[in-house]
Amino acid sequence: MIPYARRAAALCLLLLVALLVNALRIQVVRAPAYDANPANRRVPIERYGQPRGDILVGSRPVTGSRSTGAQLDWVRTYADGPLYAPVTGFSSQTYGTALLEAAEDDILSGSSPGLSALPLWNAVSRQPQRPGHVRTTIDPAVQKAAYKALGGKKGAVAALDPATGRILALVSTPSYDPGTIAGTGPQALGAWRRLVTAEDQPMLNRALRQTYPPGSTFKTVTAVAALVSGVVTDVDRPTDSPDPYPLPGSTTALGNESASAGCEDAPLRYAYVVSCNTVFGKLGDDVGLRAMRETAEAFGFNDPSIGVPSHPAVSVFDRRMDRAQLALSSIGQYDTRATPLQMAMVAAAVANDGTLMYPHLVDRTTDGAGLPLEVTGQRAYRQVMDAAVAFAMQDMMVAVVRHGTGRNAALPGALVGGKTGTAQHGEDNRGNPFAWFISWAKQSRGAPAEVAVAVVVEDAAADRADISGGGKAAPVARAVMRAVLAH
């Protein structure tokens, strides 16, 4: 009996070994796959098991967290949700994250390894890492001024500090409160459904993620290209340009909004101030596709790598066009499209004497205690033009505001340069045009520019003249610049 009992005992030992080996398999060998399974609720439970780090504007957090006591405990809250939604994006237990909440998620959720002084110890002790905070470059006064100035209109504002690339304001209206979709359950679901089906797209970040035909504001790029390429050497010498301008290789002729503007053979400065389509269409053709494209790309067009850190929609200047298309593109029509941020970068490059600084929205990230983890450094994106060209451009932009289409942007006691734009869209350009205004402001000639801003207002009534750019968008830009210059 004894040997048989021993064999039965050996069988039990075999079963024990099988259990142990299998435990090793599921707890160690296969564990990474199991842990990463999207159906495993532990990931969201851990993620929402502690308050999320905050996004700061100035020194004040514009986000918060509240405990629900539910399985996913901490839910995101937003102070001034609609005002800062284009900056923060949303963090939702149901719908994930967007914009800054997405781009800095590893800091805000506490998963970044940089947050731990002793990463190995955290791995062993399984202590959740305290999340860090993200301080933005947004100036609350400027943001509020822009939001207020846009009022109930549909549109967007992007404002930059030209000398540093800091984004001072990023506004999109109509906006939404990200707090309404932060949680779970029928309320969040209903809010989400309302937001995504709303006709005026409140969740669309128009300042960063929407491209518009830039219209006449793009003439700034064309003017720079003409000066940089040497096609124009003197801004006051008449150009050889007919009015109307027959588009090369086409039977269509390009005219101006106002036939009485005197655009025939107009010099660059005059043509810029009164916004002659004929002069800039021909200039684009004279400069040529290659040089036009190079200048546009120096401003940031066609660059998908720009991240602030969220990636804006790519602004487009076509790489292959015939001459007629190039002429139309050079006045901001045809396929040319730009985000408000892109056009703010155009104004900023001119204002900063030709150097375009890389735009950024995050000033610094800090750990939970507020000690800095990473401070975003200033760096140049490109030297778009030399200082002489920049000075000429600044003069022309000042002239637009002094006695051109941009008089609504003038600020007493400050030097303001700008350019209006009205872009047609829709089939046969029947849609209501977009009103554009790009500008910069400094305290006085010789002082550094303090702000560059781009404003777009959608559906700016049926007024087809450049005046709508000056009429609808310029006052918004003025409010933004005033807020910057006020301190």
Partner: protein
Amino acid sequence: MTAPAPGTSPPALAVPAVRLPRRRGVELALLVGAVLIPVYGYCAVGLAHDGAVPRGAAGYGAALGGLALAAHLAVRLRAPYADPLLLPIGVLLNGLGLVLIYRLDLETPDAAAPAQLIWSGLGVALFTAVVLLLRDYRTLARYAYLGVVAALVLMIAPSCFPAVNGARIWIRVAGLSLQPGEFAKVLLAVFFAAYLADNRAALAYAGRRVWRFHRLQLPTGRVLGPVLAVWTISLGVLVVERDLGTSLLFFGLFVILLYVASGRTGWIAIGLVLSAAGAFLVGTLEPHVHSRVADWLHPFASIEAGLGPGQLAQSLFAFSAGGLLGTGLGEGHSILIGFAAKSDFILATAGEELGLTGLTALFLLYGLLVARGYRAGLAIREPFGRLLAVGLASIVALQVFVIAGGVTDLIPLTGMAMPFLAQGGSSVVTNWVIVALLILLSDTARRPLPGPDAGRTDAGRTAAGGTDAA
């Protein structure tokens, strides 16, 4: 008669000069640890959950300590030569089970730990009663046939009650739910041991050789009858009660004891063939069982179908979340398993919160319990006791393997209680009876024989082995 061996304590007055170490002090010392570890775990749960030591910690420690002390005193009184490891392992596992259930109670509306503590008290009371009242375990052999009738009644009774979650294994009386199949285990082990001890010679009688070059011999048809009867009954249990685990346990137990009693490998072959046939038959006919097999093969099928994780998938997630060191008591999310988290899937909580380290320790504790049972069986001098010890130890081993293998996706999942750990009154009481019987058996095994070579237990062991070999 002879001089005391060096190193032993001076002989007491009324006892012979040479005495075996009884090791009751070892048992007491181990019991202190077996009580303190769960109390520490209880505190850890509270600290993790509320940041404070739970208010009931002292009461819980006192209750567990009191139970352990009562059991220890009974052993000291009636079974002084018993194996000193058995009782502490039982107390430790029972205590850890209470901690795990208490920990899960914090996240469910109903509290199961207080009831489990009462059942544990009942179990220890029964343990004490068995140790105190059962003067000689051999008495049990006399009631073997009465026992098997009782076992059959206990097993059939639940089929008159409504099925709970697909299995008819519960009896609900006045708010208490009993699982009579649990008690039947011990009765059946007693019956098998008694029956096989009596009919050893006939069973060992060799039948035809089927493989000329292999030592596989089929038993004769005459003794095949009882085997087929047990197989039919366990299959009947399966079909009537839809309880795959219990039927597997009974049949496995019978095959092991048959083999140990007769030494015929043919029994194992027959056992394997019959259980394979039974499993195939039931697997194809019973949708309840069939789905378990499907889950075993593809635990994530429901996720891929977009229906979310099933219980087994949740169990695997829990184990993997534990990793090597575990999340710590009270820090895991095994409650996601949902239904049966405190009973069948209790091991997943251990796996998640104590990690592979804790799980290995638990498995080794069970392994030790089984090994000490087998050791008692090997040391005992007569066939009934030997078979009973082997049978009881095998019940624990099979039960642990079936349920632990089930929740870790090693074998198809069948509902069964993890001995001592899982929520379930019938189970914890039964396990205490098993430990009580093993204590009595080990006491007999290690007790010195009266006579000139008292104290040389090896003599008895060789004698028994000799008869076997003949």
